[in-house]
Symmetry: C2
Subunit: 393 residues, 2 copies
């Protein structure tokens, strides 16, 4: 019997990232894991910090009555309060626990925000390239992505965002540090964006929400400026998938500007969307763990070393890339102006796995994730060199 | 700024269950928890079994590398294989791990199934009364609930289901043991339903999916027959929220009939929906725990004693109810044919919390959840008596 039409179409071009992830697992079984250079998925290989394991062991031993039961849909009060302190610091505004909604990762958080705030046919303006899942998230709730071009170095082009705004614009979605380009938006640019949104709102009577998707905030080589401080109608969505290396546990949060218009209604809508989309609440045990780990920091030095190592490999092979300021991706130009899917497929025949840029709205580019062991990166050098030598676009 | 229109409307009549849950917390703070008789939420007070705690402690101590990372969207292979054995036994069909998709509880599982299989404007036929969240789950994906009346004792009325089928019917959703009525559908009735769906499918060329929502399968006082064995186009959705008392951890699963039409496409669509709705995967740690606990059984005797105790309280107060065969709810008639919301509000003034039946599509009824300590039930007797003495519909 039929599946949903929308999904049949989407499955045809199913997530290139996930395809590569599963292809990678197959190749590793076939050739041995040490022979495959898998840079496809943002699955951090850095283990969660010792504090995480300590908290998990203590809570497991504690066996507190009722600790795996329901709680309010927005999460435990203690967790929300702990996160409020962190979000306040990150975002340069002072918010309390009522402005935090715990979510099943940032992917869950974005779906909750879209469901809560967007009407069918609303538009979500997003700088391009962008994380390919955004398109599906918007479509889930009847909304539509409107990509806005970025500058050649992938920094924000405020003019192109302004031109993309319309009466239908429900939100502008930014992601900094950025997947796949590694770009971090400086505060002057965010302030400029806020001014554009303010002016647009005053003109049309509808202020677009500014949604900051920030799962990579803790993984950056330059300061990541606040977003909420710049614009009142803003929300930050983040997770512990990358910073605590817990992507499988699905724990994240939404921070809402403390003076957002119709605040109570917005918070009610976020809780309602959390419940009815079937999340119900973020996983209980992880909520209790992250409440204790708001200050646990990822060792960015590890990623910086990997980045430098990978840059060397690419430099040797003659591949150019955008200089990353954060996250753990290298976004590379396909050599000799070739097709990105063909190049990815060529690399795969040398057991190197990356993701074609066309999935991110940037054909001619390829993304490599360097959240893998430095040895894998180092050992990939000969394969890269060999692949490049035989590359004919 | 505005929230989504659909949510503004829904918030007006926000979940009566959740409202009561939060009202209950308020009353407990005001009057002391021992003074409030909270029968509002299906939040099991029975603790998870010792096996759960043992597994959690062992996995926490083990600290296995990569154990909190991503895995395929449908879940760990070992978990899916373990669940396949259980679903095969429960459902009287032989399925392997490929037919199991791990989900964030049954609420997440139902949203995934609806998203994967329904098209906008499709209809989902559901026997009424029904769990109130179904309406929102269907609406999330552009589908519409079509309630079909049940018989006076709330058992299935096959004629009314048949009459509710149309060319738009994408699925029939049944829930046994049933929330809120406690009904368990016998196998002859399920076989009858299957015949109706087969005939409908042959006539129109579209076989409606039969979706069995079964979070209460383990909590029953009569045998719960299989559903998948009766009808090929069927899926079972369940969770460990009730049977292992883990509602806050959001761990459940979808079992797909091994011979469902277009099987690969259906499985692909379920994985896709899991990913793009933002679940990404069911929480990793809980997946590893439930893989070891497929045979862990809830002590149904505890619930049976509470049920009997509650029945005595109701009998004394002169309140009639549907005889429950499973789950942990008593569905009661409002005395003297009164309004259910007025009755619930009257009970609340006596610090007794229940949920009005109108939320379930059954005005004139009230639901009490007896997943609370037997002492709470016993101690509520005088309050029930007093409330009934002063009840004027």
């Amino acid at each position: 019997m039929p599946i949903a039409n929308g999904i049949r179409e989407a499955l045809g071009s199913a997530s290139l990232i996930r395809k590569m992830f599963e292809e990678g697992n197959r190749l590793k079984k076939q050739h041995g894991p040490e022979k495959v250079f898998d840079f496809s998925l943002g699955n951090p290989d850095v283990e969660p910090p010792p504090d995480f394991h300590r908290a998990l062991r203590r809570l497991a031993a504690e066996d507190k009555k009722g600790s795996h039961g329901y709680m309010p849909n927005s999460g435990y009060e203690e967790t929300r309060n702990a996160l409020a302190a962190k979000v306040s610091q990150d975002q340069g505004v002072r918010l309390d626990g009522s402005c935090v909604v715990m979510s099943c990762g940032a992917a869950g958080g974005l779906n909750v925000v879209f469901k809560a705030l967007l009407n069918p046919d609303d538009e979500v303006v997003v700088p391009s390239p962008y994380f390919m899942e955004y398109r599906a998230y918007a479509a889930n709730h009847g909304a539509r992505l409107v990509p806005a071009a970025t500058l050649p170095d992938f920094s924000l082009d405020l003019g192109s965002i302004e031109a993309a705004l319309s009466a239908r614009t429900g939100a502008v979605l930014i992601n900094s540090p950025h997947n796949p380009t590694g770009r971090v938006y400086p505060s002057a640019v965010i302030a400029g964006l806020a001014r554009i949104l303010e002016a647009h709102g005053k003109r049309l009577g509808r202020f677009p929400y500014l949604i900051a998707d920030e799962p990579y905030r803790e993984i950056a080589y330059v300061p990541v400026p606040p977003v909420l401080a710049a614009y009142r109608e803003s929300l930050a969505v983040s997770s512990y998938s990358k910073s605590l290396s817990l992507p499988g546990e699905r724990i994240g949060y939404i921070g809402v500007h403390p003076e957002i218009r119709d605040k109570e209604e917005v918070l009610g809508a976020l809780a309602y969307a959390t419940r009815t989309l079937g999340f119900v609440n973020a996983p209980a045990l992880m909520q209790r763990i992250v409440a204790e780990l708001t200050d646990a920091a990822v060792d960015v030095g590890v990623y910086a070393r990997r980045r430098d190592c990978f840059k060397q490999v690419l430099d040797c092979a003659g591949i150019t890339y955008a200089e990353p300021e954060g996250a753990f991706y290298l976004f590379c130009q396909v050599p000799s102006g070739g097709d990105d899917r063909a190049f990815v497929s060529h690399l795969k025949s040398h057991l190197i796995l990356g993701v074609p840029g066309s999935g991110f709205g940037a054909s001619g580019w390829v993304r490599f994730a360097y959240c893998v062991d430095e040895n894998v990166i180092k050992s990939s050098a000969p394969a890269f060199k060999k692949a490049l030598d035989s590359w004919q676009p």
